[in-house]
Amino acid sequence: MTTLPPKFVDWFATKGWSIHPHQAEMLARADEPSLLLIAPTGGGKTLAGFLPTLVELSQAPHDGLHTLYVSPLKALAADIKRNLGTPIDDMGLSIRVEDRTGDTSYTQKRRQRADPPHILLTTPESLALLVSYEDAPRIFRGVQRIIVDEIHALAESKRGDQLMLALSRIQTMNPDLRRVGLSATVDDPDAIAHNLARHPDPCPILHADPGPDPDITMLVTQERPPWSGGGAKYSIPAVLDLVKQHQTTLIFHNTRAQAELYFHNLWLANEDGLPIGIHHGSLSRDQRTNVEAAMVRGDLRAIVCTGSLDLGIDWGNVDLVIQIGAPKNVKRLVQRIGRANHRYNAPSKAVLVPANRFEVVECVAALEAAKAHDLDGDAPRAGPRDVLCQHILAVACSGPFDATALFHEIKTVGAFSDLSRAAFDDCLDFCATGGYALRAYDQWKRLKEVDGKWQLRDPRSSARIRMNLGTIFDIETLKVKFRRSAKTLGEIEESFAATLTQGDTFLIGGQIVRYEGLNQLTVEVSHQKGRTPKVATFNGTKFATSTQLSQRILTMFAQDDWPELPDHTSQWLHLQRDVSQLPQAGRILVETFPQDGREHMVVYGFAGVNAHRTLGLILTQRMEAAGLNPLGFVVTDYAMMIWGLTPVKYVAPLFDPDNMRDGLETWLAGNAVMKRTFRVAATVAGLIERNSRQGRKSGRQATFSSDILYDTLAKYDPDHLMLRITREEAMRGLVDFGRIEDMLQRTKGRVDHVELDRVTPLAAPLFLEPGRIPVFGEGREKLLQDQSAALMRDAGLGDR
């Protein structure tokens, strides 16, 4: 039982604060081996986590690392460092706090390993790297506590699994290590507690007072939102008015490209010159730090931002949160709204701005769900084995290990508590020999067993393994710089850079720049004023809407009229009903129409992204077999759209529940979804090296596509561990076929086909969805043949 020492009581008093009940309880139960705190944002959650550390360090000197703090975001580590500085300086405590992330300098990192601070703030990736060093036992000697902040954002993710595996290593080095998890409000706290605790230890859960309900409204303007599009440009005058009326506003966007465009348009209309900044993950570190510092000083009236500001950053002055575009997910909406008004017990204020008319419907449904405290959840899953393979390699980097001891250590991780010895041995064999059916060569060994302990065959390979640690699968990006300047403006995706030619303009960091050329791996640009930019399409992160929201929307569609919606949106729904139909529960609505020279088919299933992706695979396979030449498809939570070369006249046979599995296996094996999944799993497991920059720099043919490895394995070693993992992961992303068969069985004969000559109101937003999945069939071959013939003819080479 720990109580607040007088020094701390005085400090709270001088601040005019009183300790929150959950902060006091965290202190009182500081000795629990693991403890999970669920508190709303702004509830003093972080201080609640650190209070026991500060008290312990103020009472007894400690040599080396006392508390590890892990957050999913680099920016959060920097923010916490600032915030901890206040009580430490005010009370004159001699506590050293440092952060260690991908942004930390090499010298600083070296020094931290030799002389660790009392409190180290870090990310799961940096921690995994630390644990892989030979001197890990010395670095982590004497660690008392680990605080995992925003643990809800790490739960059910590979980053979280990687973190908990690293934690199991540190726990073995320090059996008395205490674990603390800090989480926002979630639907299933027990699942998070299960992942946090050392299995099978119990993990008590503390619930802070959730505070008053937030004040959320939807922006309704005179100006009508468009039918489709994600820019919400129409809302700019109204949003500027809101910014003027509040002290500090955060303006959230779902994608970086949208944030850039909105920021640009906001400044064009910003006649009063209000100080407004931008913050997202593609900007350079300097730019992000500047904006964060300006925000802390209170210099900014608004920040246009994305998910990089999403998590728990404690900026006290924010009194309004604006969400541009539908929030897609009620949990995220509630957490974002938590950004506003960090005074405990004052309601947070938020305004939703739908970007198009379908989003008006989504926003209204999300508002109802938030008011009903209807949070969406994910199904729990077993720990993924690609992460396990990576962990085994990382452990080997730190020194020789005993397989049985490691197996038992891994089983203390909640997500891996059901791991069988056979499954572990499979992963170990993969790490050691590649795990191939064919054992051809002696040199096919990464690990070898010496005197009962496993170790790296070649100690030099540890550097390569460390370089590939991590579970975030980054899209290759290129740095953007002004010519003859050392300063990085930000990064763009390589695929976007490839579409640029000299003279093209695009937005980055709120300014329009002109593409000049590629120098090594840097995109060189020059200043460009006053031209309309070509839109940057980098990082269109796709968010899945929860099934709950889909169901609420479907219920709304069944109404005769929509008095709760703005006039423009209810008129839009009436128009959809006039030209086609509104989707209904228990039936499948299918619309077909030509657009941009391709035949389109839209299926409104309202069954969620995963079910639609599965259905997309089934339908495209049947269309391919029927000679309908599908070219690709895209899915949302509400609908799926397939485009191809041939119009679909008879829809019903495609939805026939019988013989659904015929030919499906082959179709799936060659599918783009499987290959994408394989690439991620094989990279995480260490089969493919992600840092192939060396090869790319030489400009040569050093690297080859992971699709080749997938095809080779599928042909020669179909039961290989990587393929088994790929199938499992892909099936997790897909809904199992049994459920789709059931769905088709239920709706048999109730497929409504509407043939149209143009796109419908409800289908329009689908044309802007990211994440299109190509279908590699005869359709694509025909296109290529036509294209080849036309190009040769145009070049006057028709006869060659």
């Binding site: 051809a440 060569y441 089969l687 294209q787 190009l791 040769m792």
Partner: protein
Amino acid sequence: MTDHAFTFCDTHLIARADCTLWWPDARLLCVSDLHLGKSERIARRGGTLLPPYETCETLWRLEETVMATNPETIVCLGDSFDDLGAARAVDDDTRTTLIRLQAGRDWIWIEGNHDPGPIDLGGTHLGQLQRGPLSFRHIGQPNASGEVSGHYHPKAALKGIASRPCFLVDDARIILPAFGAYTGGLAARDEVLVKIMAPSAIAILTGKRALPVPLSACLKR
């Protein structure tokens, strides 16, 4: 018709969809950059343990082509092995397959930058080969004519079509795509290749069918 026939230096040639070049009048089959033993070399040097099936897969494909064309001469245009160590480390299966492929034919190993030395696997070992108007070598030379080479692993993409290995052909030279299973590629419009090829060059895409397109119509990536 899945192949593309064309005339080069008054010679009738066929670019096959399977990345090989067939000269029917000479009954000569040319194939480049097999990179046999690539996974073995990477494993030996402490890299990742790639599936050890590429040698088997590459030779299986080559055997298919040999059965289809029944050549008198087979020219391997260099980089047949990923390094000389990989050539020395071939297993018995590979050796047997090579002997079977070589039986009754002239087999010519052209030296490449990856395999610059002699290989103890049958066949004739040459720096380059002249046959009629055509000269076969691994890396193309400036100002050459009638030249057939490899080395660059050219590949090309069109709008809406992901990149595929391709032949590059102008009036003076042909660059072959890489045949090996584990090979990447260099974009046909990369400045290295643009400097070598004439502006009027064509790229012949491989895959299900061999399809010619003007090089200038290919994407830069």
